[in-house]
Symmetry: C2
Subunit: 130 residues, 2 copies
DNA sequence: TATAGGCTTCCAGTTGCTGGAAGGGCAAGG
DNA sequence: CCTTGCCCTTCCAGCAACTGGAAGCCTATA
């Protein structure tokens, strides 16, 4: 099938599919006689796999590792779990950081009357070290 | 003072200070006779202001708006509050998204025994639509 | 005077795409 | 047979927000 159908079926934009091919994340597909890329069902499965992985926040590099494991029938599930566990830890860390930001910002916003006058605790906070 | 001291005092890397100048976020400082940038106390305050704003996750563009308001003694605090409020909403949205990711990923990780065998619910989830 | 550091500019690379230009392929309609 | 329109190809540029490095000048100190 052409890249357009592979795009629809995998849920990845055609541009992105080509980009993944350029950067080596996915192997170049077969080519039809007219030079068009020709994707198989298996290719589409892999593209979907990558889309889901990216959707869960894995980096392209991590997706590459996960895809290798996905294709390796002799893999050890512990290798997969290690990657996922590490990512989970990073997500937790990111959530923690955002919640801290949120808390600080929330205090500042709450203390600002937000009217026509110029005095503003938000600006004071940003100037003073918040 | 030279850029090195301005860097130490503001907490921003010298590289970043020059970058902010290049992109117009901060005004070019005075220059000494030898061509070195020459920062005032006020400059350092503004750099700190930007650092704190970036630290709270405001985009460079938002920082630019906040800095203008900071410098405008006739500002309306409602303008500041609007920017901060919008950013707060975005942070909340991001936290929500991350928590959703986290939940999905957590389930997958929890169901994977993570040993030497190849069968792996994480890979199955990624292949099947998680 | 030699050396070590700080300063200058400019160019390139990072991550993960996305948009656009220029051109060829292909099926349907007039 | 030719046009229209959509799909495909490649390549180049740009987004955010820096960061690293090269080449070269300035300055302070031993």
């Amino acid at each position: 099938m052409n890249i357009g159908e592979a795009s629809t079926r995998s849920g990845l934009p055609a541009k992105t599919i080509r980009y993944y091919e350029d950067t080596g994340l996915i192997a170049p597909p077969a080519r039809a006689e007219n030079g068009y890329r020709d994707y198989s069902e298996t290719d589409v499965h892999k593209l979907s796999f990558v889309r889901h992985s990216r959707g869960l926040g894995f980096s392209v590099d991590e997706c590459s590792q996960l895809l290798s494991l996905y294709e390796d029938k002799d893999r050890q599930s512990s290798d997969v779990k290690a990657i996922a566990q590490k990512h989970l830890t990073e997500i937790d860390e990111k959530i923690r950081e955002l919640q801290e930001l949120r808390s600080t910002l929330h205090h500042l916003v709450n203390n600002c009357h937000g009217d026509g006058r110029p005095d503003c605790p938000i600006l004071e906070g940003l100037a003073g070290g918040a």
